[in-house]
């Protein structure tokens, strides 16, 4: 899966779970300020990403994740 393809998939999950528009899902978008997502929203998003990418993300890895870019990097690292 190339970078663009992976980000499209990531975006689809984010749009579905957070009920935001695709345009809002930019690398610099912040979950709390720009996407109105709280900690439980993030948990649900991670669950959707785990399902979509067939990966596993530990709760502790979410600490400090505040932007789309940080979350996407986390997912990409799992894809190896």
């Amino acid at each position: 899966m190339d970078h663009a393809e992976a980000f499209e998939k990531f975006k689809t999950c984010t749009v579905e779970v957070l009920q935001v528009s695709p345009e809002q899902v930019t690398m610099s978008a912040r979950f709390s300020d720009d996407l109105d997502a709280d900690s439980l929203d993030l948990v649900e998003l991670v669950m959707a990403l785990e399902e979509a990418f067939d990966i596993s993300v530990d709760e502790s890895e979410l600490e400090g994740v505040e932007t789309i870019e940080q979350a996407f990097v986390l997912v990409q690292a799992k894809l190896g």
Binding site: Q19, L40, V43, E44, M47, E51
Partner: protein, 407 residues
């Protein structure tokens, strides 16, 4: 409505406030809002089979994200509450003190659909696939919490969970909070969305549901209730305050009572003794004699046991030539924890329209049921105090008394 029982009741120290109904909200199988609902319950005819609420779009009341994070019973609960608030003039016109405004909203089963979906996720994908929102979506108090958050009301916000008596008991409790002066405005009633696969299987297997699919309260051929979903909500407020702001007043809540059969988990006590006592206590609370009651809005579920026991109770309290009795469940079906709210809305509309809806579906009255039942056509009526009954699995009995208000 009494604030004290026993000797202190006579001391004069406790002066109850009068409790006005100033807003109505309803989500039902015959439509959204009081106008469609009233037209529907007058008949003739009724929807067929399970009474689903069709064409309900939660996005009218929720953002897409909020809608996704709330169960259907919360969708109904907020929709009906918002309708009641709007009917009463809206937040700005009501201008209530948020600390003295509250929500008592009942339900029977809460977020059953959510629980069912998440159990499927657990089975298919393991614990990591269970939504972090399961608890706040399924909890029975969720609808009440959502209403308080939406309206910004910080007074008592609670849920009564007593099966089919939940909404009626909610109303009784909320009314007493207003009568005592603790609250000036309350949203109250009930909401229910039990029509999921497991909900239907469970009600079917306990043989509570009609196998014919016809709801026919008090009929010789009645064979169980037809299950429904929906919500019925009242906005109630201190009567003097309602008058001062020039609000339209549908009626007032004069009294309520809550008792338990302490007999059987699903069957009513023999002869409807628990229901009779509850009606008598509600009358005492309202300060009325049985002959002052002008109409009974019955629980009338169309089950063999309930309708006979309730009729016996009504006959015991009011005699066989007592006030006209109706059950709107011939049309609405039985929305379990929402039923008392839906029926309180129908009582308010009966007072407003000076008309009692007929018991649709009743063709041949069971000869063992010797009460005066309104059937075939709506009955023109000089409004007077009404007693509205709800009884729930668990032996819960609840009666409220609603009366017209002098202008």
């Amino acid at each position: 409505m009494k604030l004290s029982w026993g000797p202190s009741a006579e001391s004069g120290r406790l002066e109850p406030r009068r409790v006005a109904i100033t807003g109505l909200g309803v989500v039902s199988c015959v439509g959204l809002g009081k106008d469609a609902f009233w037209k529907g319950i007058l008949g003739p005819g009724a929807p067929e089979g399970i009474r689903r609420v069709e064409n309900f779009d939660p996005l009218v009341w929720f953002t897409p994200k909020e809608a996704r994070r709330a169960d259907r019973f919360t969708h109904f609960g907020l929709a009906a509450s918002q309708m009641a608030l709007d009917d009463a003039g809206g937040l700005e016109a009501i201008a209530c003190d948020p600390d003295k405004s509250g929500v008592i909203l009942g339900t029977g089963v809460g977020g059953l659909e959510t629980l069912e979906q998440q159990l499927n996720n657990l089975r298919d994908g393991g614990p990591r696939r269970v939504s972090p929102f399961l608890v706040p979506m399924m909890m029975a108090n969720r609808a009440a919490a959502t209403v308080s958050m939406t309206f910004g009301w910080k007074g008592p916000c609670e849920s009564v969970v007593t099966a089919c008596a939940a909404a009626n008991q909610s109303i009784g409790y909320a009314a007493r909070l207003v009568a005592s002066g603790r609250c000036e405005v309350m949203i109250t009633g009930g909401t229910e969305a039990p029509l999921t696969k497991i909900g239907l299987a469970a009600f079917t297997n306990m043989t509570a549901l009609s196998t014919s699919g016809f709801s026919r309260p008090f009929d010789i051929e009645r064979d169980g209730f037809v299950i429904a979903e929906g919500a019925g909500v009242l906005l109630i407020e201190d009567l003097e305050r309602a008058r001062a702001r020039g609000a339209k007043i549908y009626g007032e809540i004069l009294g309520s009572a809550s008792t338990a059969d302490a007999y059987h988990i699903t069957a009513p006590s023999p002869g409807g003794s628990g229901a009779a006592t509850c009606m008598e206590l509600a009358l005492e609370d309202a300060g009325l004699n049985p002959d002052q009651i002008a109409h009974v809005n019955a629980h009338g579920t169309s089950t063999p046991l309930n309708d006979l026991a309730e009729a016996e109770a009504i006959e015991k309290v009011f005699g066989s030539t007592g006030p006209p009795v109706t059950s709107i469940k011939g049309v609405t079906g039985h929305s379990t924890g929402a039923a008392g709210g839906v029926e309180a809305v129908s009582v308010a509309l009966s007072i407003e329209n000076r008309l009692i809806p007929p018991t649709v579906g009743l063709i041949n009255q069971d000869p063992e049921i010797r009460i005066n039942i309104v059937k075939d056509e709506p009955m023109p009526w000089e409004p007077g105090p009404v007693i509205s009954n709800s009884f729930g699995f668990g032996g819960h009995n609840s009666c409220i008394v609603i009366a017209p208000v002098e202008s």
